[in-house]
């Protein structure tokens, strides 16, 4: 029997079931004769087993409804009237733009899917922040002192169940809000300020295609947007605050918006 010269390549072939059965015995003999290769083979085999084990659990998880519904009920209609089916929806999109120097935001696990709709939303919100929130003289149209009036006005114009979250615990006070033009319906902008003079803004609009969430920074050092979108509404938050603080503010705001929407 002439044993062909095996290489490390064959270890992968054997491991992945690509080695012809008739070579198998020969290959095993080669491994026995090469302790170094045998050890490598053992490690790769073990790694493959560990990989399978780590992900085995996912197969047993029940599939989220949003995935099964996608199949059973079909893809969402492309054209959707902006108010259709969103009576219980909270807010279309809420975006916080926070204005503190320093773009402390390094993309860590940045393999996030980014659809154009989200980018557009985040860019608009950052644009609104850059235009209005930083304009100290003319930040808002309606002040935050009469909160019910502000909420009522913005809700009526945007078609959203809009509330101005109380961010006092996070150190931010409501300055007020304004109405902005949007693609399908007007958007609302709420502006907050903390004692250090940092401003953040919440941008909300009655647009949204699919459920998604993420963080978006237009350019290094610029404000960051943390956003949420859902089928018929969304919510996102933006800022150049340190990531942790911005996330904290965003979470608090989002909770309040959800609570307000659910309560109706």
């Amino acid at each position: 029997m002439t044993q062909r010269e095996y290489t490390i390549r064959d270890i992968h072939l054997a491991l992945d079931g690509e080695m012809p059965a008739e070579e198998r015995a020969d290959f095993e003999a080669w491994l026995e004769a090469n302790p170094e290769m045998k050890a490598k083979n053992a490690r790769f085999t073990d790694d493959a087993r560990r990989l399978r084990e780590v992900f085995a659990g996912v197969l047993k998880e029940p599939a989220p409804e949003r995935l099964t519904e996608m199949v059973t009920e079909g893809p969402p209609r492309i054209a959707r009237s902006w108010l259709a089916g969103r009576q219980s929806a909270v807010a279309a999109a809420v975006i916080f733009a926070a204005g503190i120097a320093g773009g402390y935001f390094a993309g860590s696990s940045g393999l996030r899917m980014q659809a154009e709709a989200e980018n557009e939303l985040a860019e608009k919100a950052i644009g609104a922040y850059v235009t209005y929130a930083v304009d100290r003289g003319h930040t808002v149209e309606v002040g935050g002192t009469d909160k019910p009036y502000l909420e009522g006005w913005l809700s009526k114009r945007t078609g959203l169940k809009l509330v101005a979250p109380d961010l006092a615990n996070e150190g931010f006070e409501l300055l007020g809000g304004r109405l902005l033009p949007g693609a399908e319906s007007p958007a609302a902008l709420l502006v907050y300020k903390d004692q250090a003079g940092n401003q953040i803004s919440i941008y909300m609009v009655a647009e949204g295609e699919k459920k998604t969430r993420g963080t978006y920074t237009e350019k290094a050092g610029g404000p960051t947007a943390i956003y949420w979108l859902d089928k018929d509404y969304g919510c996102a938050i933006v800022g150049s605050l340190p990531q942790e603080r911005l996330t904290e503010v965003a979470k608090s705001a989002w909770k309040q918006l959800v609570a307000a929407g659910a309560a109706s």
Binding site: L67, G74, L111, G214, A220
Partner: protein, 172 residues
């Protein structure tokens, strides 16, 4: 429900598993699956009846994943990070994971997405080299070298992790 939809539903667990390996973050992974299903449903005619939908669905998902990575790399350091990942690292689930599991996940995340995809395709999803190369749209030789290099890299990272852990134990 028609036959095609039933067959697609049956593939969801595998699609989720592969997406989780690619993206780690659970929500981001499910978003990728959702986008893949959505695209698949708009192109049902591309799928011949009687054929197993697995390869077809994985191909769709792979294309979406590649698009997504391109967008991320175009954006450079300002890549998007899922809120979930940003706020709970390590996530609750991760905390419960054993060191061994976390080491694997960390190592997998550290290698290039191309190598990660190649390894997962054959080692976990069980595709043949020919099938995996076809799904990933690369020659079989490229697939093989990604698998070989990826495995070496993965092993190196796991060795490093084990060493660090040993040091920690010794230091105590």
């Amino acid at each position: 429900m028609d036959e095609k939809k039933t067959a697609i539903l049956a593939e969801i667990p595998r699609l989720r598993r592969y997406a989780r390996a690619l993206l780690r973050d659970k929500d981001a992974a499910d978003d990728l699956v959702q986008d893949s299903l959505e695209r698949a449903l708009t192109r049902l005619d591309n799928w011949r009846t009687g054929e197993n939908p697995r390869r077809w669905l994985f191909t769709i998902m792979h294309h979406l994943f590649v698009d997504q990575m391109r967008k991320v790399s175009r954006r450079g350091g300002n890549a998007t990070v899922p809120v979930e990942a940003a706020e709970n690292l390590p996530s609750a689930a991760t905390q419960q994971d054993s060191f061994a599991v976390r080491d694997i996940l960390d190592a997998l995340e550290a290698i290039s997405p191309e190598r990660r995809a190649a390894i997962m395709m054959v080692a976990v999803e069980g595709f043949s080299y020919a099938e995996a190369a076809n799904i990933l749209g690369i020659p079989a030789g490229t697939l093989m070298s990604r698998i070989a290099r990826g495995r070496e890299e993965l092993r190196g990272l796991l060795d490093d992790a084990a060493r660090r852990r040993t040091f920690r134990i010794v230091e105590r």
